[in-house]
Symmetry: C2
Subunit: 332 residues, 2 copies
């Protein structure tokens, strides 16, 4: 409790002196190594208390070559990435898993080439033990950069660079949506897809068409506004539609608004199914029936996988694909 004006923050050395033992011994008890006499442990513990000692993480890192931090890199989507309800769930899962391992995520943006270089150099300089990538752009160069640098990394969504990844079975999820719509008696289906160059979007489109047939499609870019626009176009071109699958909840929320503004009851006239089960699904009125990705679990899996790679650099790239589920609410 009492600190005798140390002048500076106490070190292992100080504790050792107070306890009358060597630095090594103090280090052992601090790190919970058993081979220390019980009585000495007690003495050391008291000395720690008395000095107010707290181990210096940096000094420790220098020798263990581990920082206890991993980069959480979000790459793409311009400014408002952090406002994305989907990203919030990923972070939540990541943080939750990491904290159990005494590790914290270092938030980084990789929105420009310069920012990507920063991320890379931060990792090369040992600023973090590895990287968790959440990216939307399929042409993002960062995964490749990390891969060639041989840095531990796990990406969200399938990647082609020989890195570990975590993903959801997009096509099967879209199939769930299609079957649900069909099961509700809808026969004039349509879909609002993601940007044509995003793999997850392609898979959802393909999966939907695989069971719904060659239905009309309008592309959005995963934002609410783009969902509104796509829905408007869809309605103009195919006024007869009675069921639509939207590739994410945010766009679905936008679609819902347009539908209702046009006097179509949901789900009465048109049934709508979203994808993600993000907070947007609950914010929408009616509440969205949607294909749920177990995002928190996926985030946790990324963290776990990364930690495994950090612990064993020889570990081969691994992938984990999660099964989506249908959450039935009010929109379909």
């Amino acid at each position: 409790m009492s600190s005798r004006t140390p002048g500076r923050t106490p070190t292992l050395e100080d504790v050792a002196r107070v306890a009358g033992v060597s630095r090594a011994t103090v280090s052992r008890v601090v790190n919970g190594i058993r081979n220390v006499d019980q009585d000495i442990q007690e003495v050391v513990r008291r000395a720690i208390e008395k000095t107010g000692y707290a181990p210096n993480r940096v000094a420790r890192s220098l020798v263990t070559r581990r920082t206890g931090a991993v980069a959480l890199v979000v790459s793409g989507a311009g400014g408002d990435v952090f406002g994305d309800p989907f990203f919030g769930r990923v972070v939540s899962g990541v943080v939750d898993c990491l904290r159990r391992h005494g590790t914290h995520p270092l938030l980084m943006l990789a929105d420009t080439a310069a920012a990507r270089d920063d991320v890379l150099s931060c990792l090369r300089q040992g600023g973090a033990d590895g990287a968790l990538l959440v990216t939307t752009h399929p042409d993002d160069r960062l995964p490749a950069m990390l891969a060639v640098a041989g840095l531990p990394a796990v990406v969200f969504a399938r990647t082609a660079h020989g890195l570990s990844y975590v993903d959801v079975a997009n096509a099967r999820g879209a199939g769930l949506a299609a079957r649900h719509l069909l099961g509700r008696g809808r026969r004039r289906l349509a879909t609002i897809s993601g940007p044509p160059d995003v793999p997850a979007g392609q898979e959802r489109l393909a999966g939907f068409r695989a069971v719904a047939g060659d239905v009309p499609v309008e592309a959005g870019n995963f934002t609410l506004a783009s969902g509104e626009e796509a829905m408007a176009r869809l309605l103009a071109a195919h006024p007869e539609v009675d069921g639509v699958f939207v590739a994410n909840d945010l766009m679905a929320q936008g679609a819902l608004g347009v539908l209702q503004a046009e006097g179509r009851a949901v789900p009465g006239d048109v049934a709508v199914v979203g994808f993600d089960d993000s907070s947007a699904a609950l914010a929408a009125r009616p509440k969205l029936t949607t294909v749920r990705q177990p995002v928190e679990e996926m985030g946790a899996a990324m963290a776990e996988l990364l930690l495994a790679h950090v612990a064993d650099p020889a570990l081969a790239p691994t992938s984990r694909v999660f099964e989506p589920t249908l959450v039935v609410r009010d929109s379909a």
Copy 2:
């Protein structure tokens, strides 16, 4: 470019050997200290290139006593903090400012007593240079803990613990809303407030009443669902209301849904004004007229202030209060 199988990652020593100079000199050019002969600089630079050298941040930190990371602590609101559209804007501002200073935020949750202790010890152990706190609970013990530990910290929203903080002029913002509603000819006003124990909520309520008079109030807890419930109660108790000020956008979004479900046109029958200008304001239909907090700027200001405290530990606690503005959209 070429790396001659170093076996291990190259150090300053290696570069020095290749360049034929001392470690100190290499260090100087790496850190951009001018007092180095141009020719030698060139030689060193080539050696760095050749060896593929990257400075070891940890080793550097050990001597500079600075990590280049700050804790970004979010404290409160159970699980879904990261999904909060408001928090996303804060993070965005923080990240944007920090990156310009080569610093990154270490994301931490302080949702339990144990988690708070972790945050504290991480900081005491030099895991980060300081802390940025975003907290909702007024009785959060973390600010006090950081204050007594003498750790550099800046909190979002006024704090009583002698720490620096950044805030918005809540009362004036609420006044803006009241005057706008009045200006639209609304005479039967009401308000949905935040939890009675949150200072920001109290200030908004007081500010609104200061110009609108002693209007009816129902309390929510800043979530969408609580906004729905509060609006329903308000409507039941005061069916005549024609204008309502809601203490944040998420609750306003909920209120909007209830109003419309009850057959009240917005803004025709009831005008609604929110607070924050978060993404919820744009997601709502009609789009929310709202009191905008310059949250990104505020986040950036927090970061700046913290960096100043880190650079000069003697710096006295400072506060910056931002002026809110009214953003007129479709709901009022």
